[in-house]
Amino acid sequence: MIRIRELVKTFGRSRAVDGVSIDIAEGQSVALWGGNGAGKTTIIRCVLGLFRFGGTIEVGGLDVRRSGKRARRLIGYVPQELGFYDELRAAEAVRFFARLKGLRSRNEGEALGHVGLVGHEHKRVRELSGGMKQRLALAIALLGDPPILILDEVTASLDACGRDELVQLLSRLSRGGRTMLFASHRVEEVSSLANRVVMLERGRAVGECGVESFMPRLGLSTLLHLHIVESARVEAMTTLRAHGFAPRLNGVGLMVPVPAEQKAAPFRVLAQARIAVDDFELIRASEVGGVHPTQEVAS
């Protein structure tokens, strides 16, 4: 459905995307995974024809450069943040974009209903919360039932609650057989929405895998923050090291990167060594700052 060949995009002297090729078959859902500056958003904008680029991109067999308008008709797009006429009412916004997509619908309410915005038709865009705005953007993206959905860090500006809601919504959508391409640096988004992950680093594709091998491949997706009394910290460090973990000291205890599916292992090890853990926090990789996990391993 989407074919990206040798995509190159430079801004001035820097290469934001450098020779990336991706094929997305119909019904596939592909995540672009990488930190800030990896080139995720740039690739998406190239697919949408917003940038001039080198290489070729085809959407549904249409060259984006030559028939961008028809290609975009196949795409529903949700940006990181909906920047739009603030004074517009939600229903009006839907109607406007429906017209641009060539739809003559009188059922803005229904379109909004699909994303759980019933009763908000007459609210102005600026009166909507961040999560509602994103759902409005999703409603607009779904107008005309496009075969392709492109999402660009759609949860980045949302709080935890809004994020969960949106991801839930999207995961149900992705089961509908739609082709999806999305950028994310959140593990849970990728794991619940994608069936394939393309890893990007500084504009290059550095790896590609199915979602089932994504989490292990990330290796260290979670940080465990263990609160341990000061006297026991050094012993805890050596014990954990002996069992193959890579703990670091910090003010009140230890930071231990753990594989996502073995988050309780350090507790077992420490319990056996009779070291008391007073408290703990789970810090998800995404909250560590979205740096590429492989870098974390390297350090």
């Binding site: 028809r70 975009r72 017209r99 379109a111 699909h114 005309g144 039932d145």
Partner: protein, 299 residues
């Protein structure tokens, strides 16, 4: 959140899909233009400018009607002259800033990339925005000058309606030209504030600087009348003024020797000359704006 089912079917049913073909360019231009028009007439600047223009226009008409003591004396376009002066001052500022604000501020707010991610072409967006703003300017001008006509009639002054209609039409052409220049600034500028700043600077250049330079040149270099007339054609505001007088009085003799020269040398051809000059200001900046806009990134 409400329950919903989303698959390829339900949205399609809601919106009546035409999957393949996006709407025609004309339809998109109409949609975008209408959106822009509506946004413009509700905006603060439009309301302020319309009030200012109408208010000043009414006072000009009222005063020039009152100063003749209600004698109905001025069948000689004196009110028209006052209105020309007002138009020269207000309309270019309005059109320049409206144009300058349009694309640049959309880009700044992230609206532009979202809009361009829809199945539209850039030319459609540019033309749509242009026509929408042109519509708002048209409304402002006709409201202002129409009310002036009524007050002039009420004061019993015998201004010829043709000259007023000419003035209205020419004012609109002038506004279109200045709007083109504004759009050009907007598509070149990085920030909306920069574009509007430049627009105000250009306004000063058109309204004051060129004429003052022309005056100084006439006095300093003893320009011949042919040269003076030719140079005055450079400034679209002067062209507008001369065209308005020419259409109202059928002669430019009111503008002294240089005007008399123009009338005698070119006669009715003056219409063609003025139209050519003014339309060049409408078309050329818009074409350049289009070229720049379709090359530049919308982000």
């Amino acid at each position: 959140m409400s329950s919903f089912t989303i698959g390829s079917g339900s949205v399609m049913a809601a919106c009546g899909v035409d999957r393949v073909r996006p709407p025609s360019a004309a339809a998109n231009i109409f949609t975008i233009g209408r959106r822009e028009l509506r946004d413009a007439v509700r905006s603060r600047w439009f309301i302020l400018y319309t009030l200012a223009f109408t208010g000043l226009g009414l006072s000009v008409s009222y005063i020039s009607a009152a100063s003749t003591g209600g004698s109905g004396l001025s069948g000689f376009g004196r009110t028209t002259a006052g209105l020309i002066n007002l138009v020269l001052l207000v309309v270019p500022l309005m059109a320049l800033t409206a144009g300058a604000g349009s694309i640049a501020s959309d880009r700044e707010r992230g609206m532009l990339s979202y809009l361009l991610a829809q199945p539209v072409t850039r030319v459609e967006v540019l033309i749509g925005k242009y026509l929408g703003l042109a519509g708002s300017l048209f409304a402002c001008i006709t409201l202002g000058l129409g009310l002036c006509a009524l007050i002039v009639a009420w004061k019993g002054e015998a201004t010829r309606p043709q000259s007023l209609l000419w003035l209205t039409g020419l004012t609109f052409v002038l506004a279109l030209g200045m709007l083109s220049v504004g759009m050009l600034l907007s598509s070149v500028a990085r920030r909306a504030s920069g574009a509007i700043g430049t627009a105000i600077f250009l306004w000063l250049v058109f309204v004051f600087a060129t004429d003052l330079v022309l005056m100084a040149g006439t006095l300093a270099f003893k320009l011949r009348i042919q040269e003076l007339f030719a140079l005055s054609l450079v400034n679209p505001l002067q062209v507008f003024k001369m065209w308005s007088l020419h259409s109202a009085e059928a002669s430019l003799d009111v503008l002294g020797p240089a005007g008399l020269y123009a009338s005698e040398e070119y006669g009715p051809m003056l219409h063609v000359i003025f139209a050519g000059c003014l339309l060049a200001w409408v078309v050329l900046p818009l074409v350049v704006a289009g070229a720049v806009f379709s090359r530049r990134s919308p982000v």
